[in-house]
């Protein structure tokens, strides 16, 4: 949770003047280059060659660039998008990456928001079934990767464990066990030793007949609750 309790010491004209000066300074030093950067990024996205995407990646590895522009919404979205792309481009199995979803910043942001909105539809039960179906289709046809989905859940969802479980169960139900396992594996990296996630992974392995692997995951759980007992009971281990 973010706290707003301790800002009262900033309630002074002196502080406001400092903020105005900082804003003006930023506009003078960095703001004037923003449209040039935006144009260049758009050009590279449109070109989409290996050389162009390499230049784009290098720009988003540049710590100074990130530091100065991370609070500009379009660049902030691109920082997250390029982080996803970096992970995706390291996976030789993938034929598509997040950058295939748009020819410019606006199109990529629109794509990102579409996924973000689907995740909120699932989380807050607004056309939830439709959202799950759409997401499943997008994963099945390669429109989004599990890597991308993982990052967007991380940046978007409130109850992230619940969302990982919800989507992975839907993928399983639709015979995408590999996708479900991959998503849960990412979740397990983020929420290390989370009982709900480990039980879900174990359940998949039990279902596949890989009991030893399943037990390995169950043994990772430090404080076992009813969830683990239920799973063991389901698979005749108690």
């Amino acid at each position: 949770m973010n706290s707003s309790h301790n800002f009262t010491n900033l309630d002074s004209e002196e502080n406001i003047n400092n903020e105005i000066n900082e804003l003006n300074d930023w506009n003078e030093k960095y703001g004037i280059y923003l449209s040039a950067y935006t144009n260049r990024i758009n050009m590279l996205l449109l070109e989409h060659s290996n050389i162009a995407l390499n230049e784009l990646s290098n720009l988003f590895y540049d710590k100074q660039f990130i530091q100065q522009y991370k609070s500009i919404p379009s660049i902030a979205y691109m920082i997250v998008i390029m982080t996803i792309y970096k992970d995706e481009s390291g996976d030789s199995d993938l034929t598509q990456t997040i950058l295939d979803n748009g020819n410019n910043i606006d199109e990529l942001i629109s794509h990102f928001k579409e996924i973000k909105f689907l995740l909120w539809n699932i989380e807050f039960d607004v056309d939830k079934s439709d959202a799950l179906v759409i997401l499943n289709e997008y994963i099945a046809n390669g429109h989004i990767t599990i890597t991308e989905l993982t990052y967007i859940i991380q940046s978007t969802s409130i109850n992230r464990v619940e969302i990982f479980l919800n989507i992975s169960r839907f993928l399983r139900f639709n015979n995408n066990t590999k996708g479900a396992l991959s998503l849960l594996s990412n979740a397990n990296t983020i929420f290390f030793v989370n009982e709900l996630i480990l039980c879900e992974i174990a359940d998949i392995y039990f279902q596949c007949g890989c009991n030893e692997v399943a037990l390995k995951f169950l043994n990772m759980i430090e404080n076992k609750s009813e969830c683990t007992s239920c799973l063991k009971n389901k698979w005749g281990l108690i």
């Binding site: 707003s4 919404p73 409130i158």
Partner: protein
């Protein structure tokens, strides 16, 4: 004025947000005998001008002014606000507000009450604002992400030409007209605000206009 009508009024410049916002509105429970209306003001000159246009275009007694990037997740919202508006001294309801507007007029430098989910691109979080007892907390300024009224007062589009301070100004207008402004006691947030990053480029100029115009009654 139709006492059984609730109108949502939204200034929008983005169809993706407008349709998503509408999706959440469609999922709300509609109180028996009430009609719901929705007005999207496209490409308004300012938010205050857009809200005046919307306010004058509907006969609904109850108006819900909301940003296009606000998604209402409390499906019982309409019933909840009608309960609060049974107190006819309450003129306006917000999701986040200040009991005491800071002397600089910058709301987030004061102690705020309310409950909201926000997304700032890199992450989502639930704002941890001051807790309080009772059905609602009386405040003297509310955030413009969503403002709900049962009386009409003109928005000061003569003063605020951008997208800042129209909300605190409207709060002052309601208080000056003798109405109370409240923030409900929400056990969990009633909306998500996909507010991205704050753009302060016009904010401080509007702050000057605000401070010159209103003698702030800071404490309730």
């Amino acid at each position: 004025m139709n006492k059984n009508k609730i109108c949502f009024i939204m200034c929008t410049n983005n169809t993706q947000y407008a349709s998503e916002c509408q999706r959440y509105l469609n999922s709300l429970i509609i109180p028996i005998d009430y009609h719901i209306d929705f007005l999207a003001i496209l490409d308004a000159d300012s938010i205050a001008a857009g809200y005046n246009e919307g306010m004058n275009a509907t006969d609904a007694k109850y108006k819900i002014y909301l940003h296009q990037d606000v998604f209402i997740i409390n499906k019982n919202l309409l019933i909840d606000i009608l309960n609060i508006f049974k107190d006819i001294t309450i003129g306006m309801i917000g999701m986040v507000g200040c009991k005491e507007l800071p002397k600089t007029g910058v709301m987030w430098y004061g102690e705020r009450v309310g409950n909201i989910y926000s997304n700032h691109i890199y992450n989502s979080y639930q704002s941890d604002l001051l807790p309080f007892e009772g059905q609602y907390c009386e405040v003297n300024a509310i955030d413009g992400l969503m403002l709900i009224t049962q009386y009409d007062l003109p928005w000061r589009d003569d003063l605020f030409k951008d997208w800042d301070y129209y909300d605190i100004s409207q709060s002052c207008e309601f208080i000056n007209a003798g109405y109370k402004i409240v923030v409900p006691n929400m056990k969990s947030p009633w909306c998500i605000h996909d507010d991205g990053m704050v753009d302060l480029n016009n904010y401080y100029q509007n702050r000057e206009i605000f401070l010159k115009t209103y003698k702030i009654n800071r404490a309730l």
